[in-house]
């Protein structure tokens, strides 16, 4: 019931969002007569598809097992899925003490994802309006430390998740670095590498799972 209801709402809001997404471009065309021709629009589409097209398809799939259906609708509409939604969902799940793979876990993840939307939307609104006045007032020590936010965030959250199963955690981050380095050298698109690392995480988990089972059986 719960899933069905949310999926229905999610699909409706996704459909509306697709329309709203084009509103500014269409409005500017109607109000100011500034509108690229159809062939130019197709060219622009080709350009962004060539650059980001693989991510459009692969990212939602790679994040799906972690986000679930409701989380995917909120997450991909609000964006910043890896940076903001997932850390928030994962902390919410940790504090509620739910177990991976259960329905309760997914529900709490959705609560966390929603909270993160409220917080990030308010902060972006605030900074868009007053940012140009406030940011220059911050000490340079603080503003230059902003460039360390993401590595620090992911370093902290990764150990928090990996310590539940240390062997898997260590092997997966090593695997991730090898895949990212090697893939980068071979020129494999970033989107494919994302999926590759997620699959590596699953395979490494599987490896230890089977090994443990055999040990128990022996």
């Amino acid at each position: 019931m719960y899933d069905k209801k949310l999926i229905k709402i999610g699909r409706i809001s996704m459909g509306l969002a697709i329309i709203a997404n084009f509103l500014p471009a269409v409005y500017v065309g109607m109000r100011y007569g500034e509108m690229p021709g159809l062939s130019t629009i197709l060219q622009i589409w080709g350009l962004v598809a060539a650059t980001y097209g693989i991510s459009w398809i692969i990212q939602p799939i790679a994040y799906y097992p972690t986000l679930g259906a409701p989380g995917s609708y909120i997450g991909w509409l609000a964006g910043s899925v890896g940076d903001i939604r997932m850390p928030a969902a994962s902390m919410a799940q940790k504090m509620a003490g739910t177990e991976e793979g259960t329905h309760a876990h997914e529900v709490v993840g959705t609560i966390g994802t929603c909270c993160s939307v409220f917080v990030s939307a308010s902060m972006i609104t605030l900074f868009t309006i007053i940012g140009s006045q406030v940011i220059p007032l911050l000490p340079p020590f603080v503003t230059s430390s902003f460039s360390y936010i993401l590595p620090a965030l992911f370093g902290a959250i990764y150990v928090d998740i990996a310590r539940k199963d240390l062997r898997t955690g260590i092997c997966t981050i090593i695997g991730a670095l090898v895949i990212l380095k090697g893939g980068g050298m071979l020129g494999i698109p970033g989107g494919v590498l994302t999926l590759g690392v997620v699959l590596a995480g699953i395979l490494i988990t599987r490896g230890f799972f089977v090994a443990d089972k055999n040990k128990k059986a022996a």
Partner: protein, 234 residues
């Protein structure tokens, strides 16, 4: 009307607001449904409150990370467009990337005098078409993929499916961390390593203090950032 006045006009604010409103309203509806469902799953009030607090606190830090890019985006495409595009899919650097791609079509550089109405319109279309990719894929796939887990649970060993989901999450966060530190450069490794150590220490030291644990990710992140800045800065 000059270019700067147009890109910051009330009309643009209004047409940019729809997507933000849809996104936040959807979150409100999902939040209410999920809170109700959580009660039915046997999650008590204290745990729900703890989950909400920790998610909100955790979201503050990473929401700050695009702030510097946000300011440069405001200068290039105007406040309403920046606001809309940072509240929807596509990170700040992605939006900037799209704008420089589409301006490149016109032989114009973003942020210069030459970036006018036409380049801005190209940018609007570029960002809309790029975001459409994600929205459309989720619109098409979202409902088809639900139920996959139940099907797998009935087909395979549920203990393994649980592990599989955990493995996918570890893999995803390994990707996110790996993507940051893959250059193995000190300015990336150092904040990650310091924050990781602080996180472990806090997790162990605060085991008994549930309330403080909610802050642990935020604290670990701040320590990682500031210590790195103090050591490498200036």
């Amino acid at each position: 009307m000059n270019f700067q006045a147009i890109i910051n006009s009330p009309g643009i604010w209004i047409v940019s607001a729809f997507l933000v409103i849809i996104s936040v309203s959807q979150a409100v509806v999902f939040m209410r449904a999920a809170l109700k469902e959580a009660t039915e799953c046997g999650i008590n009030k204290e745990k729900k409150a703890a989950a909400i607090r920790s998610a909100c606190i955790t979201a503050i830090g990473p929401s700050l990370s695009p702030v510097i890019t946000l300011l440069s985006l405001v200068a290039v495409v105007g406040a309403p467009t920046t606001w809309m595009r940072l509240c929807d899919v596509g990170a700040a650097r992605t939006e900037l990337g799209v704008i420089s791609l589409t301006s490149g079509m016109l032989g114009v550089e973003a942020g210069t005098e030459a970036f006018g109405m036409q380049a801005w319109t190209y940018g609007l279309w570029g960002m809309a078409l790029n975001n459409f990719g994600w929205l459309f894929v989720v619109f098409i796939l979202g409902h088809r993929m639900s139920g996959v887990v139940e099907k797998m649970n009935s087909k395979y060993d549920p203990a393994w499916i649980k592990k599989l989901m955990a493995g996918a999450t570890v893999g995803l966060f390994a990707y996110l961390l790996g993507n940051q530190i893959q250059s193995l450069a000190t300015p990336k490794l150092m904040p990650a390593a310091i924050a990781a150590v602080v996180m472990i220490v806090l997790g162990t030291a605060l085991k008994k203090y549930q309330r403080l644990q909610e802050l642990s990710l935020g604290i670990a992140m701040l320590v990682g950032m500031f210590v790195t800045q103090a050591v490498l800065g200036a």
